[in-house]
Amino acid sequence: MRRSRWAWTLGVLLAVLLVATAAGAASLRILHINDFHGFAQPDTPLGTQQEQGGAAYLATRIKELRRERPTLLLAAGDMIQGNNLANLFQGKSMVVLMNALGLDAMVVGNHEFDFGQEVLRERIKEARFPVLGANVEGLPGLKPYVINKVGRLRVAVIGVVTPETATATHPRNVVGLKFEAPEAAVRRCLPRVKPGADLVVVLSHLGYAADRELAAQVPDIDVIVGGHSHTRLTEPVRVGNTIIVQAWEHGKVLGVLDVTVEKGKITRIQGRLEDISPAVGREDPAVARLVAVYSREVDKKLEKVMGQAAVELDGQNVRRQETNLGNLVADIIRQTAGADAALINGGSLRTSIPAGPIRVKEIYNVLPFDNYIAAVRLTGAQLRAALEHGLSGLEEGAGRFPQVSGIAFTFDPGAPPGSRVREVTVGGQPLVPEKEYTVATNDFLVAGGDGYVAFKDALGAEGGYQTTGGMLNSPRLSYNDPGRWLRDVVGEYIQTQGTVAPRVEGRIKALSK
């Protein structure tokens, strides 16, 4: 009797379940990552003590979660550029990795353009998943959207990237491309995808603030899977009818969004970020092998000889005087930026290179930071003030000591800080306080690092910013290449030259007391 009562109860439960299913409730899981930037190996972020991330651990968790229900795996951009594991292969290593993870779609991020369009086209061809960019015109291979059948649901995924890509990468990388306002691109795609889709997802590399604006402006979006701002959205956020998610950065977390759709409407959502970190026995063997292969390749590439140093390149005295290494790097920066002059902080050069073969790893040891080249239009007065600042920490051997190119100056080390600079020439001509000069440097100094204010003051002065076609740009910024590290530019220069023999030329002269 008891057994038959249990059977009856079970039968009723099954019937209820079947009726519910027949009524059209269907579920879907969206797994998402963004701003991976080549972090396939676990990393210990600044300010923490614990290793986080790791593609092999990420892969294991993705597989486990996929087994539970119909799943889409999405990447919201900036996946192929960043650290050595990505850059030394121009992003190919990361596409191989994403293929292994079984990605369903990716949107291009601004950094996907950093290796140039030809390379990006190659990466798109290598990808076994669609690469999206509905608001990018002129790049073959990019798709505006894709519609996937996931379980019983048809899911449209529209990709959009920040239009500021046009000014946030080197102009050569975006020649001939047009970046449309994301809102317009999404509105254009919606009538095409909506009739055939149960769910509309925008895969966005716009940043969280812009995602909120997009959600407010275009109410027909069901879900925005975001990136670009590296935001750790610990739970889904609702703006109007739209759910917004974003999964921080570098594969440190995996975004999980479970969606139930019934009669064309989302009836239930549950979202979370799952921490990813190394743990014994949790590595996916296939992905771990891939990461190991590319890591060994990185080691080999770091041993590659790029050229010869005919003399020792002095990185020891860069905080106190002109050195041949300071001149070499400053010259490369000036030439690359096509600037009148270059000024860098001596402290950015971390060590010397002995005479003889110069391997990639020696260059990376000299320039270990992820700095890039930028150039700003400064007045002669601002340039002189920058030099004064650079000389203001002589006594303690401060890293702000300037290494220069296109500039020569004398200074009185015995004078008080702020009044040490004497004669200055640019291009062999006396500095004119009112005249404008293009001065190349690294992004650290443009941001005001080491206390340099000249560059940010120039950018922030009246007329320093303009909005053209809805995009902010800086007319005073004459060169900007955020996607190409200075160390790689120096490496390419040395490779081109074959042998370098920079000298101390009297660009910086201390007047005797």
Binding site: L46, T162, Y208
Partner: protein, 60 residues
């Protein structure tokens, strides 16, 4: 672009990130010491996070 970190203005070039803003206002060492960076809605953001004009950041 102009962004604000703990209420202090930072003037940045296009393409610059949270890290650059912290360099300018001198707060990067605090993050190295364990503090975290949050956006205007209280969400933690990474140092390489992209910014848009007018963004607010809080280091705490």
């Amino acid at each position: 672009m102009r962004v604000w970190v703990n209420g202090t203005e930072a003037v940045l070039a296009p393409g610059m990130t949270v890290r650059h803003a912290l360099i300018q206002v001198g707060l990067l060492p605090e993050v190295a010491a364990g503090k975290k960076v949050y956006d205007a809605w209280g969400n933690e953001v990474g140092l390489e996070g992209g910014l848009q004009d007018g963004a607010e950041l809080w280091v705490k």
